[in-house]
Symmetry: C2
Subunit: 347 residues, 2 copies
Amino acid sequence: MRNVTIVHVAEKARVSVKTVSRVVNNEPTVTPQLRERVQAAIDQLGYAPNIAARRLGGSRSFLIVAFNDRRLTLENWRSDRGNNWIDRMQYGAMLRCDVHGYHLLCELIDLESDQLARRVQHVLSSLRPDGVILTPPNCEDPTVLEALKRAQVPFVRMGSAAAGPGARVRMDDHAAARQLTEHLVGLGHHRIGFVTGSARFLASRAREDGYRQALAAAGLPVDETLLVPGDFTFEGGVSAAEALLSRPDRPTAILAGNDETALAVMHVARRLDIAIPNALSLATFDDTPSVRLSLPPLTTVRQPVAEMAAQAVDLLVAAAAKDGKLSRADHLLPFELALRASTAPPP
Amino acid sequence: MRNVTIVHVAEKARVSVKTVSRVVNNEPTVTPQLRERVQAAIDQLGYAPNIAARRLGGSRSFLIVAFNDRRLTLENWRSDRGNNWIDRMQYGAMLRCDVHGYHLLCELIDLESDQLARRVQHVLSSLRPDGVILTPPNCEDPTVLEALKRAQVPFVRMGSAAAGPGARVRMDDHAAARQLTEHLVGLGHHRIGFVTGSARFLASRAREDGYRQALAAAGLPVDETLLVPGDFTFEGGVSAAEALLSRPDRPTAILAGNDETALAVMHVARRLDIAIPNALSLATFDDTPSVRLSLPPLTTVRQPVAEMAAQAVDLLVAAAAKDGKLSRADHLLPFELALRASTAPPP
DNA sequence: CGTTCCACTGAAAGCGATTTCAACCGAAAT
DNA sequence: ATTTCGGTTGAAATCGCTTTCAGTGGAACG
């Protein structure tokens, strides 16, 4: 019973090794009759193809590598309230890997290490995965991207709007901003401030566009003075919030470009004694834990992490099955609105 | 530069393939001079041995599989407050894998599935890992254990005191109970109740022993009537707590056999209007999130999950390097006391 | 000085799949 | 009736490493 190989199956089914291989790989040119006989032998013997041999003989490894940042991972479980991005990514990826007969291999990398390029290259060359999944912050790291490109391994960047090599899978920032704005409009808000994100990121533009579009669709004018540039940092958020909230005709609601910015807005509001959500509604993006656990918890957009990972796996597997080339496409996935206590009708 | 194999290294270093292999595997019988020449070639070429070929040619696969329960995983990240056992396990395991040149492969299994045995067997026979790490609740599942035993793959059960095949790595329940009791004694408690755990589990006995030993060491008498049997369930905890707390000479502190029991004690205390920690101190084991987030948060023992995983990897790698046999040893690791608001000096 | 032995190095045979390519067979075409 | 062809099947080479075993040279020994 131990060590059942393709040869055993072939003997039992009285066919050649190659025919068994055809059945296992679902190749079309096998007569139904033979296929059935072979399948029966496989089932009876409990045969499962050896992945190492498959990799060595063929062109695929049936392996997908996910690089996780070591510091982030450590921070996550240390803090007891870390975001669960990695878990959700793994879960989604594993489920799809399973379906495709693939396996997910998680590797820790340290973006701060001077051995980073070497490390990535070693992992790739010893594992020779069919594809790599990158999550923030790895998917923005030039060293990692360069190493992947040099190794010519297909990869998907998850949850990052940054331009660059490899395919991208992320949520639809435009639609997210639109829906968040619609939510505020639906509550009765007319004057909605927007602390925009850093212009370097595509996501910022998309979010601003979504905001404008939602207002236009609601027949509301866009007051350009309510659009204040932020830069995704707390400090930037503070100045922007001060500008918005110290005006006599201050907005009744604010959309923050990201979570960090939102926390800054909360900070300023508290200082100015503006109650959230009674005097000011606040909504933001990303749904990091700090925002979920803040007082009050903030209304945000929740990224479909598991779904993104699933899609990433699908893309990589499809590429491997074809020619090992992955198009540089940009895939947008629907997201989830987390309506929480920070948004309410205007005063 | 692409696809550097051992042959290329051998040619560059002007030695045989076998010698390169010896250097890579750190075999002793290579002269320092040769070793250096080979190592230089390896570094210059950026060579990393192909894991698939290594597995196929040799007896090791350099792979360790960790089985995670699908439902638990899903529940964890859905609930937004799941315990981070899995993350911590992965982190610890990965770090050690890295050191040994191994790779960690996480696989989801569904304990409820009727395909469970098949699934486990398939994973093992296609991956042929050098070892398997089992976490609760997988490490108690007879189907999984049976499949592992039949496949003759070494495995480590983490965090479970249950007897059975495979090696175990867990915390020292005896010492944990002792320290928890000492903590209570240190606060000034003399009458400390103990709702013991289910007698089926070795951990229960160990905890009870630790409790007794701590009392003895402090020169306190053991009042046998303060030891009430629980069974690790909420209901069992309720009856035990009622028995303890309705006495006129009720204890000023209670040690609960596990977290579930502790929650039951809290429940009863609240009903009887006994304030924690003012009128009653409460401490427990396991540190599941429910206990961390309860009001007040409970003093507990925190399992050294990452360290246990690291040890598990070390054991498996050592076994693979030797003869592929893993002794059935039981390894105890030090733990961490989480002193929280549920324990205070007696009234 | 020849033999034995040890320490080191290398040649060749797998490991279990895929890939390539040749062989086969019956049906359609000539 | 023979050739041709498309669709199936199988034989053998191959992937990159380890394992096994044979060989080589020099020190130690009689």
